[in-house]
Each structure stands twice: as structure tokens, then as C-alpha cells.
């Protein structure tokens, strides 16, 4: 197998990390695919900035219970702290030394969605975020079991309301439909049975921990996926993980995230799913399969994925030496671009792909990039921080395909970079 060209490593890095940092792309040039992928998937220890200051829920609750004014005050405080949490993640996305792991954290946030809007408690969302980050490249089986008892998730999908005699099917349904098997691979009766198995799982909202209430657990025997028994929630998860379809469903999500929006090629999904299952759901194994596969490198799919708002905002700021924007503005822009961290629009997360670009967001994207690349006093130094290289390598560094608009005829590194960033192809990866 040949050695990776600069353009190859840019492809590998933009799709898996957060933006194409010059140093990161250059470091992999000349390596074999396998070497480069193995380096990329072995991040150093993960360091996050100190956690944001969040009021313990017990205190919030006391405030809420006091009176109407207290309730209002508590709501305002939660809003403020929610914004603080968003800024914290945004800052980490911008500064992290482990962008691949962070990309995966965001991937799992979009898979195992929960939203501040419903959960209300920033501290529970922060805990969920930690859980996703710590397991982002770990084991899917472990992650799934942990997510099922994650307090934010138990609130988001009403698991904490799911009690003996009055089952709430919300979590059971999404577990099957969105987290593991996908539509068409289970029945309504499977949902009902799973809901019964998860009865009694709840949250102590005061200290934000998972609690199991045996009195609320319904021990009635049920039939789940053709098996009869009195199951626990964990047993339900293990049955789901026995199904080859679960691994294939996650493989399909990887296809969509890393290869293409276009319908996946089933041969690859089967192979990736099999490898994933064989590794007992090692996420790094699946990731490595995907990145080492033919479709990931196929010219057919290069430059076909639309950059997410985080790719565009964080990726551009990480890769290029433009003046930094205040974190409140970053959070605001990401909201306008349609990716409000910790607040995905629906239980399915962000639809992504072409949905990232509509008449509203295209205008925001354009004005953001215009603003970043505009000549100003603050940006006077940008020129000197740009890599010293040839024009054609700059094109390869910033764009996945040839630009579709004409490049400037007047020479000038910064002018060139601006033209490339404003080219529609810059929106792709």
C-alpha cells in the first residue's frame, strides 16, 4: 500500500478530527494508511478545562419550591448555567489536544441525544457529557449499559416515569428505534416488553444519581425478541447486543458520519458490523475498519459530506490563525448555524447532511466566514501565521475538491486563503 499524500492526510484529518490543523495534517504525510490511522486513533490522555460552576440541584429545588418568584429565579439561574455549560464545551472543542475523541463525543451526543431543554439540570447534562467523552472510543456495550442508567437520559426519555402498572415506553422505543436496531427490526410488543423490564429505574434528582426501586419493578414475564422471561433492563440490552443488526446499525451511522450521506453499501456494513461484534463492540475497532476501508478513500465520496456547524466554526478557528471570537459569540453563532450544543432539536439529534444548509444557515455561514477573513486591524497578523508553502498546497489543505469559483488573480497569501474559504467547496469535507 502506498504512502499518504498531503491531500490524503487532509481528508483523513478533516473527517475525523475538528478542522485540518496544518501540523496535524503534515505530521501524517508520507505514512501508510494503517500507520496514520493508528496514530490518529490513539489519542493522548484527555484533559478538559475545569468544570463550570453549577448550583447543586438540591439548592435549586429549594429555591423553586419557595414561591413564584423563587421559581422564576431558579429558571433564570438554570438558563444562565446552561449557557455556561455550552460555553465550556465550546471552549473545550476549540482547545482540546484530542480532537478525534471530541469529535466522537459529539457523535455520541447526537446518537444518545438528551437536551437541556427537557432535562433542565445542567449538572446532569455535564455528567452525561463526561460519560460520552470517557467512553467515546471505548466499548459500545459498556456505553449502552451506562447510558441506560444515566440520569439525564432517564429524565429525557421519561425512564424515571416508567413504573410498575404504569409503564412509559419512551425510553424502550428509542432504545430499539434510535440507539440499537433501527426501524423495522422490532415489534410494538418488543417495545412494551422492554418497557416493563426497565420499570423501577429512576433518578434521585437531589443528588443526580441513578436509583433502582425494586418495588416499582414489574417482574411479570414478557416475551422480548422471541424470548420469554422476567427480564431486567440489563438483560434486555444484552439480548439486543446479540443481534447482528445492532452492530450493523451503528456501522451505518459511522458510514453516514465518516463516508457519505448517500445510502451505504451493504457489503461494507455487513463486514464492519461483523468486525464490531467480534471485538465485543470495541468502538476503536469499528472506527479503524471504517477508516481503513475502500469507500472512506474512494474519490466518489470525497468532498461530499457537508461540514456541521461545529466543523465549520470550530474547525476553521482551530485550523487558521484568525482572531478568536468571544465564547458567548461562538455559542450564539453555533445556535444560528443550527447546532445548539446540549440542545439537539429532536430525539433523533441533528439531521445533518443537506439539512445543515438552508436559506437561513447559508446566510449565517457566509457572513461568519466573511467576517473571519475580512481585512481588519485585528487580522493584520494573520498573514505571518499562515503556513509557508505553495499556493497549490494551500488549496489542497483547505478544500476537499477543486474550487468551483475562480481564484483571485492578484497574488497574496491572505487573499488566496479568503477566496478558498468563501468558495462553496469549503463547506464540504
Amino acid at each position: 500500500m502506498g504512502r499518504l499524500s498531503f491531500s490524503d492526510t487532509r481528508h483523513l484529518v478533516t473527517r475525523t478530527a475538528l478542522g485540518q490543523e496544518w501540523g496535524g495534517v503534515k505530521a501524517l504525510e508520507g505514512k501508510t494508511r494503517a500507520e496514520a490511522i493508528s496514530i490518529l486513533l490513539s489519542p493522548s490522555a484527555i484533559k478538559t478545562p475545569p468544570a463550570p460552576r453549577l448550583t447543586p440541584w438540591a439548592n435549586v429545588n429549594r429555591m423553586r419550591m419557595r414561591n413564584g418568584a423563587g421559581k422564576k429565579q431558579a429558571r433564570k439561574m438554570m438558563m444562565r448555567e446552561g449557557e455556561r455549560l455550552k460555553r465550556w464545551w465550546m471552549l473545550h472543542l476549540l482547545q482540546t489536544d484530542t480532537p478525534v475523541n471530541e469529535h466522537m463525543t459529539l457523535f455520541w451526543h447526537n446518537h444518545f441525544t438528551s437536551s437541556l431543554e427537557k432535562v433542565e439540570q445542567p449538572n446532569l447534562m455535564l455528567n452525561q457529557n463526561k460519560l460520552l467523552r470517557d467512553n467515546a472510543m471505548g466499548n459500545f456495550r459498556t456505553l449502552l449499559h451506562k447510558v441506560a442508567r444515566d440520569p439525564a437520559m432517564l429524565i429525557y426519555l421519561d425512564g424515571s416515569e416508567n413504573v410498575k402498572g404504569s409503564p412509559n415506553e419512551n425510553f424502550a422505543r428509542e432504545l430499539l428505534e434510535l440507539f440499537t436496531l433501527g426501524r423495522g427490526h422490532y415489534t410494538e410488543n418488543d417495545i412494551k416488553a422492554a418497557a416493563i423490564a426497565f420499570t423501577g429505574w429512576g433518578v434521585n434528582r437531589n443528588n443526580g444519581t441513578y436509583v433502582y426501586d425494586a418495588r416499582q419493578h414489574d417482574t411479570r414475564p414478557v416475551t422480548f425478541m422471541g424470548r420469554r422471561g422476567s427480564f431486567s433492563g440489563d438483560q434486555i440490552i444484552d439480548i439486543i447486543l446479540e443481534k447482528p443488526r445492532t452492530a450493523e446499525y451503528i456501522a451505518e451511522k459511522f458510514w453516514k458520519e465518516f463516508v457519505s450521506d448517500i445510502q451505504p453499501d451493504h457489503r461494507y456494513i455487513r463486514n464492519w458490523g461483523a468486525a464490531f461484534r467480534k471485538s465485543n463492540y470495541n468502538i476503536r475497532t469499528l472506527f479503524s475498519e471504517v477508516l481503513n476501508s475502500e469507500p472512506f478513500w474512494s474519490p466518489r465520496y470525497k468532498g461530499t459530506l457537508t461540514k456541521s456547524p461545529i466543523d465549520l466554526l470550530v474547525g476553521t478557528l482551530r485550523a487558521l490563525p484568525f482572531p478568536k471570537l468571544p465564547d458567548t459569540e461562538l455559542v450564539h453563532i453555533s445556535q444560528l448555524l443550527g447546532q445548539d450544543l446540549f440542545d439537539p432539536p429532536t430525539v433523533k439529534g441533528w439531521a445533518g447532511g443537506n439539512d445543515w444548509i438552508d436559506t437561513q444557515t447559508l446566510l449565517v455561514r457566509t457572513s461568519l466566514l466573511n467576517k473571519l477573513t475580512r481585512h481588519s486591524q485585528a487580522s493584520a497578523k494573520v498573514q505571518s501565521y499562515l503556513p509557508k508553502t505553495t499556493g497549490s498546497e494551500v488549496v489542497q489543505w483547505l478544500l476537499p475538491l477543486a474550487p468551483v469559483l475562480p481564484l483571485p488573480t492578484t497574488p497574496g497569501k491572505r487573499r488566496m486563503v479568503r477566496a478558498l474559504i468563501l468558495d462553496p467547496v469549503f463547506q464540504l469535507k
Binding site: T346, V347, N354, D355, Q360, L362, L363, N370
Partner: protein, 379 residues
């Protein structure tokens, strides 16, 4: 032959002999059925908008907030007196009230409930606006224009072909930086981007033309809401090729000291829409427009201790237009305490029945909710 067919046909023959009728106002390709949606932001108090004024339960639940001087319409229901500007439309038979509009297991969160209304899904699994399921996507024109908001709301989604703007002037300024050049899309993602770019640029070009176009002689109230309606009017009479407009009226979240606030809003609503209907009549377009209101929820039946009302559920909404069949539709939910759910009205009409009506009876398009929700004959 509908107007679009006619224009396509007309473009093949010399225009010399055409009568300068109402349509001569603009050069655009104006659709025959235009919808103007008015979002009553914050959750409008339906019970003080269309008032069950003979219902003792109403008076009991609203000792200080009850409206005593409503304008009786029909079926023991009266209209808020500050909507008096709309009374002529009611009398002409061009105003329909749809009572008890809501949905099952109502959400009392502003954000969540408006999401439900705008996506027409109660399952939190749909991020695209309901109109993108009714109207076919367009390539070189926009299906909708949202004024005064940067949120596409009922028209959101990649294929919905709508633009949102604070006002046309601001939009023209924002679009200045957008690439105007065409390009050859190398893949479907670029083709989508090009399509969106073209929609924005076409809308901007049209709005630039309309900005200099003819103005309605009708005077609009000098409020923010009035100005937005005037801008919509300007677009319609100058032939903008857009079937949907959306304007919001804000301030309906009346938790405290509601009376003056709500009356004031009713006054804005009635005054603005009266001017709009006048302008459409003057342009000979009254039969081509329908105005409809919506809001995330109604308000609690019982008033609270701060002279206001808290978030509730079902509420009445109205439609006006030259082809609207005036009258009362749906059933007013019972206010009897034992017929309430946690102090809230139980809806009698699902809001998707209203959407089904617009799809099927206004636009003659398929009803995407055919299996569950049937149209209402108010048009």
C-alpha cells in the same frame, strides 16, 4: 386554466391585448392561493379572544379577567371588543372561527409546544416544518417568507424553500455577501447548496424589485406588526412568486396584569388585519389570500393571583379571506371543572385538521395527515 398555466402560456404570445386588471399591479408570477400565517407568540388567551360569555363557569373562573363587553357573534360566543375592526369581515361571511384547537397530551412549554405546531408532530421526531410536507420544493423561487424573525418555523427544513428576515431591507444587506455567481456542482451536496443560494438570490432580486414597486394606498397601523403586514402587502401586490408569508405578533405570555396587555394585542391584531384585508380588496386580491392565526397554546381556564393566566392548552383560532366560509367551526370545549384536564380545556379539534384543510381545500394538494386528520369546510 389556473393563473400559472396562463402565465406560462401567455409568455408564448404577445402580451399586447391583455386587460390591465388587478394583476397588472406586479410583473411577478404571483400564486393564486396565498396563505398569511399570524403567530400569536407566547400563547394567546383563547377564552378572552372568543368568549363563552353565557357560560357561568367562565365567569366563575375569571372573576377579574372576564370580558363583559364582548361582541356577540353566534352560539353564545362573543368576540373580544378590541377585535371590533374585524367585525365587518364576520358580517360579510369572510371570517371563520375554529374552536378548541389543540392536540392530545399538550405540552405547556413554549418551546416544545410551538415545535409541535410547526412540525405537526407530537413525537419530537421531526425537525422539518409542516409546510415542507405540503408544498413541493422550488428551485428558482421561494415557497415562503417569514418576516420579523430569523426562524423559519413552519417552513424550516432543507427542502422547504423559504427565507426568513427581519425585514426586506436587512435581508438585502445580509445577502450582499452571498456568492452570486453560478457554478458547476460536482456532487449533490454542492447542487443543494447552489439551489439554496439561488433561492436566496432570487428572493433578494425579487425583493429589490418590489422595494421600488407600487405601494398600497391603504394606511397600516404604525406598529411593528402593522409594518410587517404592510411589507407583506407590498410583496403580494407586486406579484412576488410566494404562496406563504408568516408574521408574528409578540407578547401573549400574559402571566400578570393581563387585561390591558391582552386588549392592546387584540387591538393590534384587529387593526392590522383590517388594513391588510382592505389592501387586498383594493388590489382585487381578497379572494386569493387567506389569513390564519396560530399560537403554541391557549391559557389556563382559571385566572391566577397576579391578574394573569398561566400556560394552558386548546384555544380558538380564526381564518379570514375572500374565499373563507364564515361561521363557527369545531366545538367549544367545556369549561365545567369536571371536564377539564388539570385545569385546562380538552381540545375538540386537532391542529392538523386545520393544516389538512389548508393543504386539501385551499391549495388542492394531498393531505399528508390523511389517515388521521380530515379537513374542516371553512374554505
Amino acid at each position: 386554466m389556473n393563473r400559472r398555466d396562463f402565465l406560462q402560456y401567455a409568455s408564448l404570445v404577445p402580451l399586447a391585448g391583455m386587460a390591465p386588471g388587478a394583476f397588472a399591479a406586479g410583473q411577478g408570477n404571483r400564486p393564486d392561493q396565498i396563505l398569511l400565517m399570524i403567530e400569536l407568540k407566547g400563547g394567546n388567551d383563547g377564552l378572552n379572544t372568543l368568549i363563552p360569555f353565557r357560560d357561568a363557569d367562565y365567569h366563575r373562573a375569571r372573576p377579574t379577567l372576564r370580558v363583559k363587553n364582548g361582541i356577540p357573534l353566534r352560539d353564545n360566543m362573543a368576540m373580544n371588543p378590541y377585535l371590533k375592526n374585524l367585525l365587518p369581515l364576520w358580517k360579510e361571511g369572510h371570517m371563520a372561527w375554529i374552536q378548541g384547537v389543540g392536540y392530545s397530551n399538550p405540552s405547556r412549554s413554549h418551546f416544545h409546544s410551538i415545535d409541535i405546531w410547526e412540525t405537526a408532530s407530537t413525537k419530537n421526531n421531526e425537525s422539518r416544518g409542516w409546510l415542507s410536507r405540503v408544498l413541493p420544493p422550488r428551485n428558482n423561487a421561494v415557497n415562503g417568507i417569514v418576516l420579523g424573525d430569523n426562524n423559519l418555523g413552519p417552513m424550516s427544513g432543507a427542502n422547504s424553500s423559504a427565507v426568513a428576515m427581519e425585514d426586506p431591507k436587512t435581508f438585502l444587506r445580509q445577502t450582499k455577501y452571498l456568492n452570486k455567481k453560478g457554478f458547476k456542482p460536482a456532487n449533490s451536496s454542492l447542487a443543494h447548496m447552489l439551489n439554496v443560494q439561488n433561492q436566496i438570490n432570487t428572493a433578494a432580486q425579487e425583493l429589490g424589485r418590489i422595494h421600488k414597486g407600487k405601494r398600497s394606498p391603504v394606511r397600516f397601523p404604525p406598529s411593528r406588526f402593522g409594518r410587517k403586514l404592510e411589507q407583506v402587502t407590498q410583496m403580494i401586490i407586486n406579484g412576488m412568486d410566494t404562496p406563504v408569508y408568516k408574521v408574528s405578533l409578540e407578547g401573549f405570555d400574559t402571566h400578570a396584569s393581563q387585561v390591558d396587555q391582552h386588549n392592546n394585542l387584540m387591538n393590534h391584531l384587529g387593526g392590522g388585519l383590517q388594513a391588510f384585508s382592505q389592501a387586498m380588496k383594493r388590489a382585487g386580491l381578497w379572494n386569493n389570500v387567506m389569513v390564519i392565526t396560530y399560537s403554541e397554546f391557549g391559557r389556563r381556564v382559571a385566572e391566577n393571583n397576579s391578574g394573569g393566566t398561566d400556560h394552558g392548552s386548546a384555544a380558538p383560532h380564526f381564518a379570514i379571506g375572500g374565499r373563507v366560509r364564515g361561521g363557527m367551526y369545531g366545538k367549544q370545549p367545556s369549561l365545567s371543572p369536571d371536564k377539564l384536564h388539570d385545569g385546562d380545556l380538552i381540545h375538540t379539534v386537532d391542529f392538523r385538521e386545520v393544516y389538512a384543510t389548508l393543504a386539501q381545500r385551499w391549495w388542492r394538494r394531498p393531505n399528508p395527515w390523511e389517515k388521521q386528520f380530515r379537513p374542516i369546510p371553512f374554505v
